[in-house]
């Protein structure tokens, strides 16, 4: 069944790129409905305020304004509050304190950008002008933006039911054991580590087009979603916008998500409701400024950590205390990010027996924070890998040596923070990366750079992460409100072409190519005979969508299960028609054959036979279409080693990444080119986080970095040519042996970059982003301390 040109492992060019690079993609904003009106939101300019009154009269008087709607009308119509779908329980057994979040605020606003009302008008420009004409009277309240300050005594209280702004105080691991491990340590490395707040910045801003069909009492929503079925479920079951069977959600081409398009935001809810209120199609598309103040942000942790080592460099204990900023409201999966997606990965690649983490999640007067590429795992990786590198320096050991001393080498391995690693070969990735990065030649390169007045540094990161985000029963036990399986349908048409209907959603990942490759491989058919259908709740039966690097390990596994069923039926039909045993049937070269004979049926003849049903085995149903649901038995665990080499200009603090080497273990790789592209993109985001990106609010809760004039995105010229390699072990948990590759680059790279810079400047006290100014300041501190000695 080998299909070398287009099957598993082939560098097939992306089928979807023709429409993308010729400008023929169909995005939500490209949707034009008859009788379409436009929504513009009236947003709070204050970070924290009571709403005293809303005067709509001037806006309503403008010609072309259809209506101005507010939160009292919305809640009056029974539209429910926005929910967080993962219940995290505090260590004292109490449930998390979830504050009410209405799509349009009624009493109080809690961040700059909180929506207060919506204008529906004939044109987008008019809607925006009218939104400015809505007069809202506010009573300003003191605001708090930093997580630690939010917990301080006397901080302004943001939600009535969250005293002290605490959402939960949660722990994992055994504190007594961790304390004992630290007490027994010969050396303790202690660090304060912050993980900078990021804005997701997908190229396509969020958008929604909602249409209400009065006669059918039916709603259609086109929207920028990574998971349209989940959107429909939540919109129906929790927000009461429409019953599920009266709501169709379509996520057409989506231009990047990075997590920000998982959630169901106030705008989509409001557009659906407003389309019913006004009996018009309602379109809303964010501009970039609006994206900065409404797309869920990422990261934003403050942690202290202590790691103890014995005289041989073995870790004796590890203790972490983290405060996570969740913003003004709890977004859909926000609660799980700093808990089950973060602290469960704090064992890293290391055999740590005594580990404890405590996490307090808090409200602040900022944009809600939720999963962003990596979601919790980058925060864990950054913390451990900075600790390991710093500890190695303190212990006078090579960073690779200290890590290797503590590597896990037997699988399955159960960590003290509930993960069971199923496979991996951490030594292999480390060795491959060190060789590719020519670590042996580093001292010479450092000396050469010094002659040019540059400080050269080398930094490691040995990351592990957890993907697929499942099994359903396990995550249900941890508080998830949904199952995290995936579904697929394989539809063989009467002419033999194949449509794959998948619950995964592609927003740049290349599913139309990779998913087709596994079908081409399995049935030995031309890849062009396979098409992928996704992103429409009327077409695909159900699906959990794409995030957590799950489309390969979970989404493709569902396709494999459905293909198993199709193949079984094909064999039965062929055996019946060719008068052979099912065991002798082989599928090869576009034909279904009897092994060792010249008896064969073309693949298209099988399709036709199934649908004409003139000559099928007794009792067999006509047709050739099978569906399957796949629920993984465990998370998958991509891992690897990243090595970063930098040069710092000591006069300006400007840092250049001169070499970046990746060795990843992603399990089976379907399309190496797409996988490399995922790594490249992830590294760009990780280097962006490490050196450039940071959301900054002032003390009053005004967003300082609200545009690309102040929020630094990585540009191509900021990035090196990457050296990307693979040393893989097969994942035992799914039929294709896949682990996932979408987030690894963003997870593994930030500590490698910072470890390289701190190596170059000789100061471990450096926070992300390592902007020129921050690096220069850290260098001044070195100079000052040398002067003091």
């Amino acid at each position: 069944m080998a299909n070398g040109a287009t099957g598993i492992g082939a560098r097939v060019k992306r089928k979807e790129d023709k429409r993308f690079i010729t400008g023929k993609g169909k995005y939500t904003d490209d949707v034009r409905m008859e009788n379409q009106a436009y929504a513009a939101f009236v947003r709070s300019p204050h970070a924290h305020a009571n709403i005293k009154s809303i005067d709509k009269s001037a806006a309503l008087a403008m010609e072309g304004v259809v209506d101005v709607l507010d939160g009292h009308q919305l809640t009056g119509d029974g539209i429910g509050n926005i929910i967080c779908g993962w219940a995290v329980t505090s260590k004292d057994g109490s449930p998390m304190n979830m504050g009410a979040w209405s799509a349009l605020a009624t009493q109080k606003v809690r961040y700059v950008g909180d929506a207060v009302a919506v204008v529906i008008a004939d044109t987008q420009q008019l809607a925006r002008l009218a939104a400015e004409a809505v007069e809202v009277e506010y009573e300003e309240l003191p605001a708090v933006v930093k997580a630690d300050k939010s917990l301080a005594k006397g901080a302004p209280e943001i939600h009535e039911n969250a005293p002290g702004n605490l959402i939960y105080d949660w722990e994992i691991g055994d504190e007594a054991k961790a304390d004992a491990g630290l007490a027994a340590a010969k050396h303790i490395t202690e660090m304060e580590i912050t993980n900078n707040r990021l804005s997701p910045n997908p190229m396509e801003p969020r958008s929604a087009v909602a249409t209400y069909d009065e006669a059918e009492e039916h709603y259609t929503l086109y929207t920028t979603s990574q998971n349209p079925h989940v959107a429909r479920l939540v919109l129906s079951a929790f927000y009461n916008v429409a019953p599920e069977h009266k709501l169709r959600v379509i996520a057409p081409d989506v231009g990047g998500g990075f997590g920000a398009k998982i959630y169901i935001y106030p705008e989509e809810i409001t557009c659906l409701w407003a389309s019913m209120k006004t009996n018009r199609s309602v379109k809303w598309t964010a501009d970039r400024s609006e994206a900065f103040i409404t797309d869920a942000h990422g990261r934003d942790h403050i942690s202290t950590a202590k790691m103890g080592f014995d005289e041989n460099g073995k870790i004796t204990g590890f203790k972490v205390d983290t405060i996570a900023n969740l913003g003004a409201y709890m977004s859909l999966f926000s609660s799980s990010v700093p808990t089950y997606l973060y602290a469960t990965l704090l064992s890293g690649q290391y055999d740590i027996q005594n580990l404890h983490a405590n996490v307090r999640a808090v409200y602040t007067n900022t944009v809600p924070v939720d999963a962003y590429r990596g979601a919790g795992r980058p925060e864990a990786c950054y913390l451990i890998e900075r600790m390991m590198e710093t500890a190695a320096r303190e212990l006078g050991m090579k960073p690779a040596e200290l890590r290797a001393k503590n590597f896990i080498r037997e699988f399955p391995h159960e960590t003290p923070v509930i993960m069971t690693y199923d496979s991996g070969d951490f030594d292999a990735n480390l060795a491959q990366a060190e060789e590719a990065a020519d670590v042996a030649g580093f001292p010479a390169r450092k000396a050469e750079a010094a002659k040019r007045g540059k400080l050269r540094g080398l930094g490691y990161s040995c990351y592990i992460e957890a993907c697929g985000i499942a099994p359903s029963a396990a995550v249900g036990g941890l508080g998830a409100g949904v199952g995290l399986w995936e579904s697929a349908e394989v539809r063989v048409n009467p002419v033999g072409t194949i449509e794959i209907l998948t619950g995964s959603h592609s927003h740049g990942q290349g599913h139309e190519t990779t998913f087709a490759q596994i079908v081409a491989e399995r049935f030995d058919l031309p890849i062009d005979n396979v098409s992928i259908v996704h992103g429409d709740t009327d077409k695909v039966q159900f699906g959990m969508g794409t995030y957590g690097s799950r489309s390969g390990a979970v989404g493709m596994s569902a396709i494999v299960k459905a293909m198993d069923k199709v193949e079984a039926k094909v064999r039965k039909i062929a055996a019946h028609q060719l008068e052979a045993s099912e065991d002798d049937i082989v599928i090869e070269g576009g034909e279904v054959k009897v092994a060792g004979t010249d008896k064969a049926l073309g693949w298209h003849e099988i399709g036709l036979a199934a649908y004409t049903a003139h000559n099928l085995p007794p009792e067999m149903e006509p047709g050739l279409k099978e569906s399957a649901f796949y629920d993984p038995s465990n998370f998958t665990f991509p891992a690897g080693t990243y090595i970063c080499e930098v040069e710092v200009d000591p006069e300006t603090g400007r840092t250049e990444v001169v070499q970046f080497t990746a060795s990843d273990d992603f399990g089976t790789i379907i399309n190496p080119m797409i996988v490399e592209g995922q790594v490249h993109g992830g590294l760009a985001q990780g280097i962006g986080q490490a050196m450039m990106e940071q959301v900054i609010y002032d003390d009053d809760g005004q967003l300082i970095t609200g545009s690309y004039m102040d929020y630094t995105m990585p540009r191509a010229a900021d990035l090196p040519f990457y050296s990307v390699h693979h040393a893989s072990t097969t994942c035992p948990g799914n039929p294709l042996g896949m682990k996932g590759c979408g987030e690894a680059g963003a997870i593994g790279s930030p500590p490698a970059v910072i470890n390289a810079i701190t190596d170059a400047i000789g100061n471990n006290n450096l926070s992300m982003p390592a902007t020129p100014q921050n690096v220069w300041n850290a260098l001044q501190a070195v100079t000052a301390s040398q002067a003091a000695e």
Partner: protein
């Protein structure tokens, strides 16, 4: 964007008339600041008077030893101009380093100078080189032209038709870009002119582009990298923002001055 009326002026007279007729009319040079500001609803001109099609507004010429650049000449045109490269190569390099290619192919010298953004590159060049701003009404020396943040000596209805640069003995510009915007976090222009050494700084001053007395003294005494690095540049009066505190900017002024001297 609020509604606005667009005029494509055919002549200076035509432009002046349109500027006078509009309630809050503004000149459109390259639009690289104005259009973005309008999109954010931070500017709301009633009329936009596009001066780019006026005859004589675009192009580079020599008037004796004087380099004359038309007011609507784009940064890309200045950067690639053989005349500019020969007359004052530092100016061509400065223009070639403004923003990104899209900005350089739309933004104009007149627009940049008239806007006088405190982090713009051109003001540093004009002030250091002792350039003259030519308008439809008069000629204004660079020393008298820049007047604080986003403020110039231009009167209402006054249009920059050209900028004239004298030839100098040596000149160079070194910029440290603000990482997000690519505007100058600190840009330093050094020049040996007929009037002596002039060193100007953009991106750093609380009140926009300025001449650094400390660096002029140091480089007059000794035109060298070491001399620039050793100058006593104070952080007083320098901007502090998320990209650079005053002390960091003061350091960058010395470093960029030294690099400019090296390149001169």
């Amino acid at each position: 964007m609020y509604p606005t009326k667009y005029h494509k002026a055919a002549s200076i007279d035509d432009a002046v008339k349109a500027l006078g007729a509009g309630e809050e009319a503004m000149i459109l040079g390259g639009g690289q600041t104005l259009i973005a500001t309008m999109k954010q609803h931070l500017a709301a001109p009633s009329d936009l008077v596009d001066v780019r099609s006026i005859e004589g507004m675009v192009g580079v010429s020599l008037d004796g030893d004087m380099l004359v650049i038309g007011g609507a000449t784009t940064h890309a045109e200045v950067a690639s101009s053989k005349e500019v490269q020969k007359h004052t190569p530092a100016l061509a390099r400065l223009a070639g380093g403004i923003g990104d290619p899209a900005v350089r192919h739309a933004g104009t010298i007149g627009g940049s100078v008239a806007n006088n953004d405190p982090a713009a590159d051109y003001p540093a060049a004009l002030l250091a080189l002792g350039a003259t701003v030519v308008t439809n009404q008069r000629e204004i020396g660079a020393d008298d032209f820049f007047d604080g943040l986003f403020t110039t000596a231009l009167d209402e209805g006054e249009i920059i038709t050209a900028v004239k640069f004298p030839k100098v003995e040596a000149a160079a510009y070194a910029k440290f870009a603000q990482p997000a915007s690519l505007f100058a976090l600190v840009g330093v222009f050094v020049a040996k002119t007929a009037d002596g050494v002039r060193v100007t700084v953009t991106g750093a001053g609380d009140e926009g582009v300025f001449r650094s007395e400390a660096l002029e003294v140091a480089l007059t005494a000794d035109w060298s990298e070491a001399s620039a690095k050793g100058a006593d540049v104070s952080a007083d009066g320098l901007m502090s923002d998320i990209h650079g505190a005053a002390a960091y900017r003061a350091n960058l002024i010395k470093v960029m001055a030294a690099r400019a001297v090296l390149a001169s």
